[in-house]
């Protein structure tokens, strides 16, 4: 009678059992930090004065936020982190060339079902799509993890979204998660482990599942878990190496990472998506969700990318719509593949050519305008339509600008029309 979260903490705490509400000290399997939150964590780690990190093979450091460095301050942060990597012999360091952390970790096989992963980034919850209990932490907590390999947690209660129904052709996982967030609100799952289950989720590929898990934090969730299955195994089997190969195999053989539906800490919410239309999160909150068809909004910039929707499946969705078309006059469009692997696939499949011919700018893998710190910022009174995860006031630049969130399909159709638009059902 336990949830996935309880089962994972039962193991990671060494207690053999765990139930919602317990405060446990858990062993951390993987700790991740990037170029923007890493420097503060390293500063705190140095203040603690442990000297050596707990396990240099379990720390993953990708650079993705300010890449390549766009200022002297960023360049200095990169130097500080590269020095830390050398001093501590960090084995898994991905410099500016690899891509967005939440895409790189799954791709490089660092995410194993049933493990505990903490990251100095709130979208660390993305890895729940592969069955890991993954959650965002701050820099001081990260310094503790770097020093000791452990962190205290309150074992969360679970809210399980049971999603049923076949999605319409012009919708995708992004519409499902925006719809859920719109229903429960920006704090509807605070402190809770979110679970996505049901027929619709079983039928989704890993990319779509990552969209759901990625945005669990936007309703306050501590993580966004999906029961691992054959698709999880197929995604990971050629990506993991060393000890992780055995762990993955052991997990598949045991295969008990399921929530028992009679668990006392489990709440179930049924969602039917068969009639779902394309959804938009309107300024300035992610839970301000409306059907795209109800909006009459002109846009200045479209961004397709980020850890939410910058994967090859998103680029294919966008390219299908943009092929042979031009983006609207006076509109800017940025397409940023989430990783080198995604970028190479997009090149091979001819997608990049379609984007460039349509009038889009294609950049090297990075977080891009998502957090308004690096490239493609919007100015006062400008409107951005973005496939990323947050539309907070000032998120992509000026606090007088506006950010709307959508799927890659809606973003592509809207780029052609110069206003928020609904793609045709194929």
């Amino acid at each position: 009678m336990s949830t996935i979260a309880e089962k994972i903490f039962a193991r990671a705490s060494g207690n053999g059992e765990a139930e919602a509400g317990d405060i446990v000290m858990a062993d951390i399997d993987i700790a991740v930090m990037h170029d923007l939150t890493g420097p503060l964590a390293v500063e705190s780690f140095n203040k603690i004065g442990t000297g050596k990190v707990w396990d240099s093979s379990k720390i993953v450091i990708p650079f993705d936020h300010q890449v390549p460095a766009d200022s002297l301050d960023s360049a200095n942060n990169h130097i500080l982190m590269r020095k830390f990597v050398k001093e501590q012999n960090i084995e898994n360091f991905y410099d500016v060339k690899e891509g967005v952390c939440h895409q790189v970790l799954p791709e490089k096989g660092h995410v194993i079902p049933g493990t505990v992963i903490v990251g100095a980034d709130s979208h660390t919850c993305t890895y729940g799509a592969l069955g890991a209990f993954a959650t965002g932490i701050g820099s001081t907590d990260m310094a503790m993890v770097l020093s000791t390999g452990q962190l205290w947690f309150k074992v969360p209660e679970t809210i399980r979204f049971n999603v049923e129904g076949k999605l319409k052709e012009n919708t995708s996982a992004k519409d499902v998660i925006l719809n859920i967030i719109g229903q429960v609100g920006a704090d509807g799952a605070t402190y809770k482990s979110c679970e996505f289950a049901g027929e619709t989720i079983s039928n989704m590929n890993i990319s779509d599942r990552m969209v759901l898990s990625n945005m669990a934090i936007e309703m306050g969730g501590k993580t966004g878990l999906i029961e691992p299955d054959g698709k999880t195994y197929d995604y990971l089997k050629d990506r993991v190496s060393g000890e992780n190969k055995n762990r993955l195999k052991a997990f598949i053989e045991k295969s008990n990472l399921r929530s028992d539906l009679d668990s006392p800490s489990l709440e179930i919410m049924d969602i039917d998506v068969s009639e779902l239309e394309p959804q938009i999160a309107c300024p300035h909150n992610v839970d301000n969700v409306k059907p795209a068809s109800e909006l009459d909004v002109e846009i200045d910039q479209v961004f397709i990318g980020s850890c939410t929707n910058g994967r090859i499946e998103d680029l294919r969705d966008a390219a299908r719509i943009l092929k042979g078309n031009k983006i609207a006059n006076e509109l800017r469009m940025l397409v940023i593949p989430a990783s080198k692997e995604t970028y190479l696939k997009a090149l091979d499949e001819g997608l990049i050519k379609i984007f460039v011919e349509a009038g889009a700018l294609v950049s090297a893998p990075c977080c891009g305008p998502c957090l308004g710190g690096h490239t493609g910022l919007i100015g006062p009174d400008e409107v951005s339509l973005s496939t990323s995860n947050r539309n907070f006031k000032g998120r992509q630049g000026s606090p007088e600008g506006k950010v709307y969130l959508s799927s890659a399909k809606v973003a592509a159709q809207s780029a052609i029309e110069g206003r928020i638009a609904v793609p045709k059902e194929e």
């Binding site: 701050g138 306050g220 308004g372």
Partner: protein
């Protein structure tokens, strides 16, 4: 603790508290210069040492950036009071030594600019007109972390004892 209230609404996110473009800095001084700048320009120079921030529900939602509570601390804010807090922000603020006081119903009872008093020991907020509003008292270890100025100093103090 006594001070003036700076009142904000629901869902005050970490991009409002400290916009993403300033995450390249790590020092309290520089970060605090940009605190809340999307809503109040030059917030830091307007705030007096010991003032309070009052928020609605879900204060601190969004990113895990610890830069946000560091910026608040650098402005001299003595505590953030709200109806409820987002999870990561709650841990981060405590870890850097900013007290967060959860007081359901508080935003209807206290107005912007009011001079209030906070009694940490008894878990009470006293409004300008003398109304008493309860907040969830912090456990002793958390008070010790806050009194030490954050988790790192707390650990160091413990080591030295």
């Amino acid at each position: 603790m006594k001070g003036k209230v700076w009142k904000f609404g629901n869902d005050i996110d970490t991009d409002i508290i400290l916009p993403g473009r300033y995450l390249i800095y790590t020092d309290e001084e520089r970060l605090s210069e940009h605190c809340m700048e999307g809503l109040v320009s030059d917030f830091k120079s307007k705030v007096s040492d010991g003032d309070f921030i009052l928020g609605g529900t879900n204060f601190g939602c969004g990113s895990s950036r610890e830069h946000a509570p560091i910026a608040i601390k650098g402005c001299g804010i003595s505590a953030v009071i709200a109806e409820s807090f987002a999870r990561i922000f709650y841990r981060n603020a405590t870890n850097v030594g900013v007290p967060l006081l959860e007081a359901p119903g508080v935003s209807a009872l206290i107005g912007d600019g009011e001079e209030i008093e906070v009694d940490m020991e008894n878990g009470l907020i006293i409004s300008e007109s003398g109304k008493e509003i309860e907040f969830k008292k912090l456990p002793p270890f958390m008070l010790e972390i806050l009194e030490s100025g954050g988790l790192i100093n707390y650990l160091k103090n413990q080591k030295n004892e």
